[in-house]
Amino acid sequence: MTFFFEVLVTGLMVGIMYSLVALGFVLIFKASEVFNMAQGAMSLFAGLALVGFLDQYLQLPLWLALLCTVAVMTIWAYAIVFIVLKPLVARPPLMLFMATFGVAYLMEGIGQSIYGTQAKGLNLGIPDTPIVIGGIFMSTFDLFFTGVAAILVIGLVWFFQKTRTGRALRAVSDDHEAALSVGIPLLKAWTITWIVAGVVATVAGVAWGTRLGVQFSLTYIALKSLPVLIIGGLDSIPGAIIAGLIVGAGENLGEVFIGPYVGGGIQTFFPYLLALIVLYFRPYGLFGKEIIERV
């Protein structure tokens, strides 16, 4: 039984890491109905920038380096909104979607030409020693990021549900033109969203970067979070978290307990299988916005 829980907890913690990436997608989708293909690239760039500030070009202390990284992501947010998205206001969402593809390639290219292509280690100084809680081995590392994710989610939910700006962002995501007609500046709303998404991408980039090293393959973690998005719903913050946990736990348990019967290796496709099942029954995800249709 302890073994089962150990597998479960390890899975849940990996799931949280997926959730962090999925969160970035959700934020942008909520505000502009755009599926942001650049989310993975944003995480990569944030990771590269952090390493750059931390030891490649400058030797800043960690807190300052993190602050500078967030500043860089903020500059990106402004650039994306005012250079790429502004001319596309009132165009179909598909155009915005294609534009984010361009942004993704641009970010990867610029990132690699500044910081180089070799994989870099990222050390935050958190000891990666396993600790035992209730008889289960846990990595301090995973615990730390679980905590960070929890704080991030509580903060985001509070921001969207309780603040004036959050309410305005929700209004923008429902109806751009009506939001404009009540005096909500569209570009400002988008900029705020992209900045928040940049911060989330930074957290995701740091979390994955410390595990895998900061390298080009970080952009593919975005693909890993696709089933999370489908299960949780494209526009639900709690959905992204819970779906991340489901996927993480599901793939780990599946691999350990079902894997041996079918020859193993089901970890890679198990999340997609779950996503498919969810699509059959709730096409907008477990927590996604229901599509309100009037007849």
Binding site: R164, R170, D174, H176, E177, L180, V182, P185, L186, K289
Partner: protein, 300 residues
């Protein structure tokens, strides 16, 4: 038949006509020196750089007046309103000629949110509520430009609930699930949250049952009288609009073709025939219907 105050206009020219306010049979001529609150001067609007929609529209709305914009589908009523509130930009349109002045200042180059802050609020056609927001949240978005004025916003909310008690009952329901009439109320109430000085109402009667239309129009009248909000009302329901408005503009094909005080327009033979469905004789016989001529055009 009174024709004196109804001038047929040439496109682009601007006849200044005394604004006459009709208050319960008694006519009070407003001081001609009083500058209009909203002055639209010969504007032209082009969509997507090629589609010419408005070809020189001029109109005035005075403080506390209800002016109505009449015309068939596609006459340019909505575009006129959006040109004033500058929402045309969000639809890839542009005011290419002419000026819009509000309260003596030129506003045609401002962004929509700046206009909202000045008190020019458009209530869009087709009840654009935020369907995943609750009624109360939806109303509160209307106060976005008022910043953190908590007390003022709460007062405004209470006042909206006074005008629309039904919204108060449904304040925790998502606007996607309320009825069409309630959505229209929510849209108007949301506009009220922003401290409007003039409201641009686009087809408030669209798709509503006659009783509800009456209710909405009564509230528009009350808002005009009690909150001193000027109204520019685009309506296809000409009979209803002329009953409540002080002044009317008839649009056709992107131009204002006729204007006058509402009472005069109601008496105008052409307006009676083409927009109100009445003739001097009263009901028509079948023979008249058979020979009924093509709808009159002012612009050939």
């Amino acid at each position: 038949m009174k024709h004196e105050a109804c001038g047929i206009r040439q496109a682009g020219t601007f006849n200044s006509i005394l604004a006459i306010k009709n208050t319960g049979g008694e006519k009070i001529v407003m001081a001609t020196e009083q500058a209009p609150l909203l002055k639209v001067n010969n504007i032209e609007v082009i969509y997507e750089h090629v589609i010419l929609v408005l070809k020189g529209v001029s109109l005035d709305v005075y403080e506390g007046q209800i002016a109505s914009l009449l015309g068939a589908n596609g006459a340019g009523k909505s575009t006129t309103l959006k040109a004033i509130s500058n929402l045309v930009k969000a639809e890839r349109g542009e005011v290419t000629k002419g000026t819009v002045e509000f309260d003596g200042k030129r506003v045609d180059k401002l962004f929509a949110p700046q206009l909202v802050k000045m008190g020019v609020i458009q209530i869009m056609e087709g009840r654009h509520t935020f369907e995943h927001l609750t009624v109360e949240d939806d109303l509160l978005t209307g106060a976005y430009t008022r910043g953190r004025d908590k007390k003022g916003i709460q007062e405004a909310l209470d006042r909206v609930y006074q005008y629309f008690p039904r919204l108060k009952e449904r304040r925790n329901v998502k606007t996607g699930y309320i009825s069409g009439g309630e959505m229209q109320m929510c849209a108007i109430g949301r506009g009220l949250m922003a401290k409007p000085r003039i409201m641009l109402l686009d087809e408030p009667s669209m798709g509503l049952a006659p009783l509800l239309v009456k209710e909405i129009f009564n509230i528009i009248k009350r808002l005009n009288e009690e909150e001193k909000v000027g109204m520019l009302l685009a309506e296809q329901n000409a009979a209803m609009a002329l009953n409540y408005a002080d002044y009317g503009y008839v649009m056709e094909n992107g131009r204002v073709v006729l204007d006058g005080e509402a009472a005069t327009l109601r008496g105008n033979a052409d307006v009676r025939e083409f927009y109100l469905g009445l003739t001097a004789v009263g009901k028509k016989s079948y023979r008249d219907v058979k020979h009924y001529h093509r709808r009159k055009r002012w612009l050939a």
